[in-house]
């Protein structure tokens, strides 16, 4: 390998791909491919019909074009919609059964699959391309009656639950990418927390995009039954690819009476190289429904990767006294583009929502906060507080704030504030005076700027995220 290639690999720690033969559905998007996916996953008829219905609608839908980050047109017929490591038709029961190459990949990624890592107390449902690799900590979870498995397994083993909740938050009649996902989703996680159970550990999924030309279409469904609590972590790293890859996942959260779901994401997919070549398109639909009264859904996200991030984790506050929260850090560098934010839809009485968004853009990147706060006429006594701050580093990047605020109830209050600024010379000077070099000083100040959000992350993630913030901004000073 010549020096130049080595440099590229050095730049992106997770830039490698494992050579495993894949089973692929034929290229292209049509009914046959959907039937192929459904068939290979041994799905019941209702699910196939559901997929086909979504596909039928997809054919008449138009791809949205109102967003700020523009991208070259995606040829949906030129993608593989299903690809699975070959020896996964029969799922391994033990870790030892796994392809050694795969285990090696995870080791490089630092995913706690093996015994020693178990001490970290994280149960992992690792997704390699489209099929769940292995699920650990099953026993502990089973004892509490918690179901944590891949969604294809859930379709087989818990069809009633899946049938009852799938598509209730993101219906097949939703926007383009969500509908695309409904038609062709391959795998993802399924979580069910029974009534009154407080999940004893953080649940976590690592997504990994591997095979070239494969769009990833995960579907995650989390249901917290009455009075339960769950904290769910999602972390992503992807191997280096030259072509742009599409990732259109759907995440549905449902919180019933008195339940709480905390969903944290650290997203560090391949952002493309310095010239903006390659990188992942992250077009994800995440939506939570506070269905019962006194329920709570909280989104925390740290977005540092992807060439284009385009997502709005949302809360529908349907139950009375329900609470929605959104904490976000989005960092863009080089040619990255992000259009992210949240939607808080207040339907129930006494509902509360809070939005804290921190955006940092450096290099030639472009970042947009786009959010909606909508208080409906029946949402008496509701409250929203929004704060979005942007930090600009360099004069070739952009930072934009586009909030939509709709108040239709006279007993409800909405407060929104936003600022845009750069790192002050005084602060930099002060830090440097104390012996920090400019890069460290910026790292420190940025971490302070993000602190409000970083605090919301579970311990294991907080440390990782803090490092990630520093790494993402490397080379943006000066």
């Amino acid at each position: 390998m010549d020096e130049k290639n080595l440099d590229i690999i050095k730049d992106y720690k997770y830039g490698f791909s494992t050579d495993i033969e894949n089973i692929k559905a034929p290229k292209g998007l049509n009914e046959e491919v959907i039937k192929f996916i459904s068939n290979i996953k041994k799905e019941p008829k209702w699910l196939l019909d559901w997929r086909l219905q979504a596909y039928k609608r997809l054919k008449v839908l138009k791809e949205p074009d109102w967003q700020k980050p523009k991208y070259p047109k995606i040829n949906y017929q030129d993608l593989y919609y299903y690809s699975a490591p070959k020896n996964f038709n029969e799922k391994p029961k033990k870790l030892e059964d796994l392809d050694p190459k795969l285990l090696e990949t995870y080791k490089k990624l630092g995913i706690p699959l093996d015994e020693q890592k178990r001490l970290n107390g994280i149960a992992v449902d690792a997704v390699f391309d489209s099929v769940s690799v292995a699920t650990t900590f099953k026993d502990t979870l089973t004892k509490h009656g918690i179901i944590f498995c891949s969604i294809s397994e859930a379709v087989q083993k818990h069809p009633d639950l899946v049938k009852k909740y799938l598509g209730t938050v993101i219906p097949i009649t939703d926007h383009y990418f969500a509908t695309l996902n409904s038609a062709v989703f391959t795998d993802g996680s399924f979580v069910y927390i029974p009534e009154g159970v407080r999940c004893p550990m953080e649940l976590s999924t690592y997504f990994r995009i591997n095979a070239s030309d494969t769009g990833q279409f995960e579907r995650t469904l989390i249901i917290a039954d009455k009075g339960s609590y769950v904290s769910y972590l999602e972390g992503c790293t992807a191997p280096m690819r030259d072509e742009n890859q599409l990732h259109a996942a759907n995440v549905e959260l449902i919180a019933l009476d008195d339940a709480e779901i905390k969903y944290s994401t650290v997203q560090n997919w391949y952002p493309g190289d310095k010239d903006g070549k390659g990188g992942i398109y992250n077009f994800v639909t995440k939506r939570g429904l506070c269905k019962g009264s006194n329920s709570k859904i909280s989104w925390t996200q740290v977005e540092t990767g992807s060439a284009i991030t385009w997502k709005y984790p949302s809360c529908i506050l349907k139950g009375d006294n329900s609470i929605g929260e959104f904490y976000s850090i989005a960092i863009t560098n080089n040619h990255q583009k992000a259009d992210t934010g949240t939607k808080m839809i207040h339907l129930g009485k006494n509902t509360k929502s809070k939005i804290i968004s921190k955006g940092i853009s450096a290099g030639l990147s472009d970042m947009t906060y786009r959010g909606l706060v909508d208080i409906s006429p029946n949402a008496e006594n509701s409250n929203n507080y929004t704060q979005c701050d942007s930090l600009l580093m360099g004069n070739k990047c952009g930072a934009h704030t586009i909030p939509y605020i709709k108040n239709k109830n006279s007993n409800s209050n909405i407060a929104h504030e936003a600022t845009t600024s750069k790192i002050s010379e005084d602060q930099l000077h002060y830090c440097q005076q104390r012996g920090l070099n400019p890069e460290e000083a910026v790292g420190l100040i940025v971490n302070g700027f993000c602190k409000e959000v970083l605090q919301q992350l579970p311990m294991e993630f907080a440390v990782e995220a803090q490092k990630l913030v520093g790494i993402s901004l490397e080379g943006s000073v000066g």
């Binding site: 109102w66 006429p377 942007s390 600009l392 580093m393 360099g394 004069n395 070739k396 990047c397 952009g398 930072a399 934009h400 704030t401 586009i402 909030p403 939509y404 605020i405 709709k406 108040n407 239709k408 109830n409 006279s410 007993n411 409800s412 209050n413 909405i414 407060a415 929104h416 504030e417 936003a418 600022t419 845009t420 600024s421 750069k422």
Partner: protein, 414 residues
């Protein structure tokens, strides 16, 4: 609509011989026919679907209006005890241009068609206006001249027209060091018409423009007003909007800060009731270094009314040291009221100070309680709080004479 508008166009301009102006009008007409009235599919009309509003309140529009005979100016409408210059529009036609308080050589009024000062904006209502506006007046304030008295522009409509669009347009050029104060007053006797007004201002170095738009008289017309302001070095523009009387009113302010140290101030007040729907949309473009903008919009809504504020601050990559500020506040008094806001920042330069805030909610119960414990009844307490809320904006007006005039019209006690 397509046939009707073409017939009305030919009828209106049958005496015109073919020339640049007519070609320009025809082009604009074609564009308007292609685009139609703006609806909610357009981002800038997302919260106020004009097409729907006109369909619901007016029905089919007429575009022809007989302007052959002169309308008499009703003297009762003219404001007394207040010396001023005036321009009087009656049903969209200029009936009087009176600058008697000014030096004749210093204020020039030109009627010639001038392509160079046309507003450049993709807006189907501008196309409609360009197509049907009969005279594109150009008013030029000479170098170093400060107007002695304010200019009041009366927009009068008479009760014998209905379902008609009235298009008017004025262009103002403020030469270096000049200054102009304009007060817009709407005097509507008509009902159910669509009134479409465009102003274009060009502010040369050090020029000062103050524009006060007062919509007080209760009426059932649908109105759209657009101000384009181009500013050069050191120029200052101040716009104040009182949005109160019409059934529907959308004020749009587009301000281009093209010169260093130029600044723009936009303040607005919505005081709405009875099913009214008003909007202010601003777009302040900071295009060079060291420019400043300030926006303050307050709104009080009662009885099924709806107000919308869409404000945008754009900072171009070379507009370092920009100072931009936006604040919108709203008090919702009634259950069925609605406040929508879209305060937007689009920033491409790093050494800037830009912020916005937006708050909406009910009257503060604690404040009411405080006032009642001091012996005021609920009604008085509410009134006092609302006037205080509005006065915050009114006090920003830099012209004392006009400030007290506006306070008087709004019946705000000191």
């Amino acid at each position: 609509m397509e046939n009707k508008i073409k017939i009305d166009f030919d009828k209106t301009f049958k005496n015109y011989s073919s020339n640049d102006e007519l070609d320009f009008k025809k082009n604009n007409l074609e564009n308007f026919i292609k685009e139609g009235l703006p609806g909610r599919k357009l981002e800038s009309w997302k919260f106020s679907d004009l097409n729907q509003i006109i369909n619901k309140n007016i029905g089919e529009l007429n575009f022809y209006i007989d302007q052959s005979k002169e309308n008499l100016i009703d003297n009762a409408l003219i404001i007394k005890d207040f010396d001023h210059n005036k321009i009087v529009f009656i049903n969209g036609k200029v009936e009087e241009l009176d600058f008697s308080f000014e030096d004749k050589d210093k204020v020039k009024i030109l009627k010639e068609f001038d392509m160079s000062i046309k507003i450049k904006s993709k807006n189907s209502l501008l196309n409609l206006n360009n197509a049907f506006c009969k005279n594109f007046y150009k008013i030029n304030i000479s170098k170093n001249y400060t107007m002695n008295k304010p200019l009041i522009i009366y927009h009068v409509s008479t009760n014998n027209i209905s379902s008609t669009t009235l298009n008017s347009q004025l262009n103002f050029i403020l030469e270096e060091n000049s200054s102009l104060k304009i007060v817009d007053i709407y005097e509507d006797k008509s009902e159910k018409n669509f009134i479409n007004t465009f102003y274009n201002f060009i502010l040369k170095e050090n020029a000062i423009l103050k524009n006060f738009k007062i919509d007080k008289l209760q009426n059932s017309n649908i109105k759209y007003s657009y101000n384009n302001i181009d500013q050069l070095k050191n120029s200052v523009s101040e716009t104040f909007i009182l949005s109160n009387g019409s059934k529907f009113l959308k004020n749009e302010i587009n301000c281009n800060l093209n010169g260093q140290y130029s600044s723009a101030f936009i303040n607005g007040v919505f005081s709405l009731d009875a099913d009214k729907h008003h909007e202010i949309r601003t777009s302040v473009n900071h295009l060079v270094e060291n420019t400043k903008s300030y926006q303050l919009i307050k709104s009080v809504l009662d009885d099924k009314s709806k107000s919308v504020y869409q404000g945008k601050i754009y900072v171009s990559p070379n507009a370092q040291k920009t100072d931009g500020y936006q604040l919108s506040k709203c008090i919702l008094l009634d259950k069925n009221t609605e406040f929508n806001a879209k305060p937007e920042l689009e920033i491409y330069a790093d050494d800037v100070k830009c912020s916005h805030g937006s708050a909406s909610g009910s009257l503060n119960e604690n404040s009411i309680f405080y006032l009642r414990s001091r012996g005021l009844n609920y009604k008085q307490a509410k009134k006092l709080l609302i006037s205080g809320f509005f006065l915050d904006v009114i006090e920003k007006i830099t012209d004392e004479e006009i400030k007290s005039f506006i306070k008087k019209t709004m019946e705000l006690n000191q």
